[in-house]
């Protein structure tokens, strides 16, 4: 009986959850920080499109609420891939109009590493990409500042099962400076 007690205690002590990790593919930015690229193959990686009056719901059977308050809200959920084309997380993109202000937010959730919240500029820049500040992050991303860009790249391949295009997300991370933290404390 003692053996059973000890074995169970040992098994529970040794039990752990191990998330599957893909090696991060980071490059060092010449001006400081590190750069990481993600992409989404459309339509294969699209989990959901939620928008009022949407014809052809994704996924089939989706019942998006028709409340007036959500009339200007559009949410899309995707799987996200790293530079090796391996799925490493999930992401949500929300576009909304708040009074006169356009809002485009991304949240990337990488189970083994953490999550990052990015608030994009509503107006695309020259070259057709948007840039947004990293507003907050969890776990590995908690001590990081930086920015992220989003860009739509149409597919030029003639392969039969090729995606129609991809959304490219490029994050540039910098460590949150200690001076900034001290300044915040003083405020």
């Amino acid at each position: 009986m003692v053996l059973g007690l000890l074995a169970t205690a040992g098994a529970l002590y040794g039990y752990s959850v191990d998330q599957v990790r893909e090696a991060s593919i980071l490059t060092v930015n010449p001006n400081g920080g590190s750069v990481e690229s993600f992409h989404i193959n459309v339509p294969m990686d699209r989990i959901m499109i939620g928008a009022p009056g949407q014809s052809g719901a994704v996924p089939a059977g989706l019942d998006w609420p028709t409340d007036e308050i959500l009339a200007d809200v559009r949410a899309e959920m995707f799987k996200i891939r790293n530079a090796r084309d391996t799925v490493i997380g999930v992401a949500i993109r929300t576009a909304a109009k708040n009074n006169e202000e356009d809002v485009i937010d991304w949240v990337l959730h990488l189970p083994a590493r953490g999550s990052v919240f990015v608030e994009m500029d509503a107006t695309p820049r020259e070259g057709g990409f948007r840039r947004g500040e990293i507003r907050a992050g969890s776990r590995e991303f908690a001590p990081l500042d930086g920015f992220m860009t989003e860009r739509w790249v149409a597919n030029t391949s003639v392969e039969e099962d090729a995606p129609i295009g991809r959304i490219e997300l490029t994050g540039t991370y910098t460590a949150r400076s200690k001076q900034t933290d001290d300044e915040e404390e003083n405020q």
């Binding site: 009986m1 003692v2 053996l3 059973g4 007690l5 000890l6 074995a7 169970t8 529970l12 002590y13 039990y15 959850v17 191990d18 998330q19 599957v20 990790r21 699209r46 989990i47 959901m48 939620g50 996924p59 089939a60 059977g61 989706l62 019942d63 998006w64 609420p65 409340d67 308050i69 959500l70 200007d72 809200v73 949410a75 959920m77 799987k79 391996t86 799925v87 490493i88 997380g89 999930v90 949500i92 929300t94 909304a96 708040n98 202000e101 809002v103 937010d105 949240v107 959730h109 990488l110 189970p111 953490g114 999550s115 919240f117 608030e119 507003r135 907050a136 992050g137 969890s138 908690a142």
Partner: protein, 255 residues
């Protein structure tokens, strides 16, 4: 021969005793009072359905569709709890790839304290490597993105401990011959990262832009099935606004 049989029987009795002792351990008390329930600051209260087939969309690895009773029992010990549920709608893409296999995603309508639609909430939760069963910690790392047209956007980072739920609801359901549980259970799911067991809330756009806040997620369960997950349950998120913004806040919130 009789010594071997005695040894084996003793081993299993010991293992069973340990498991029972762990589940009914009176020293692992549930934290019943949320620190935000006694705050003087203004709070935003958001209600949502925790039952997957009452949400807009819910997806996980889809294992619930083909898992055996033994697999379901083993799965009981892993957070998050809703993984026993099949994805909704049925044709939603499942999260079967290895790096996201222990993750679930939920999109739901957020309602205010008057039960009016206030916005949209999206929750991602994953089994956490911080889980320690021996200490009664079945942890999920989760984040919320919430967009409330009248308030702005919120990013909520939290760790959730499902152990009190497993002890009070999931284990009794698994033990019952009908594989389900009915009753009333209310508990705070949030256990961190804040020192008082609160979630870290960051404001994005709107009136909460650039604000750092605290939050707590709780759940009220009425029915649970060991086979299908939550059957009757409501979730609640309470977000405490910083006191500096109290004067400018006047709508859709509860004191």
């Amino acid at each position: 021969m009789k010594y071997i049989i005695t040894l084996i029987l003793g081993f299993f009795i010991g293992a069973g005793l340990f498991a029972v002792g762990l589940i009914y351990n009176p020293f692992m008390s549930d934290r019943n009072l949320s620190p935000l329930s006694v705050t003087d600051a203004e709070v935003i209260t958001l209600n949502f359905s925790s039952v997957p087939n009452e949400t807009i969309a819910y997806t996980n690895n889809g294992n619930a569709l083909q898992q055996s009773r033994l697999e379901a029992a083993l799965r009981l010990w892993k957070a998050p709890i809703r993984s026993a549920s099949p994805p909704h709608p049925a044709k939603v893409l499942q999260l079967w790839e290895a790096p996201i296999r222990s993750t679930e995603a939920m999109v739901t309508v957020m309602r205010d304290a008057r039960n009016q639609t206030a916005g949209i909430g999206i929750k991602f939760s994953s089994d956490s490597e911080k889980s320690r069963l021996l200490y009664g910690e079945t942890i999920a790392d989760s984040v919320w993105y919430i967009y409330l047209p009248e308030q702005g956007s919120f990013f909520i980072e939290q760790t959730e401990n499902y152990w009190p739920f497993i002890r009070a609801v999931a284990f009794p359901a698994w033990r019952s011959s009908a594989n389900n549980w009915r009753g009333n259970w209310l508990g705070d799911m949030t256990s961190g990262p804040g020192a008082l067991g609160t979630a870290a809330v960051s404001g994005g756009s709107g009136r909460v832009q650039d604000l750092e806040m605290n939050g707590v997620e709780s759940m009220s369960v009425r029915a649970y099935s060991a086979d299908r997950g939550l059957v009757g349950a409501e979730g609640r998120l309470i977000i405490e606004l910083p006191e500096a913004r109290d004067e400018s806040a006047s709508y859709s919130t509860t004191p």
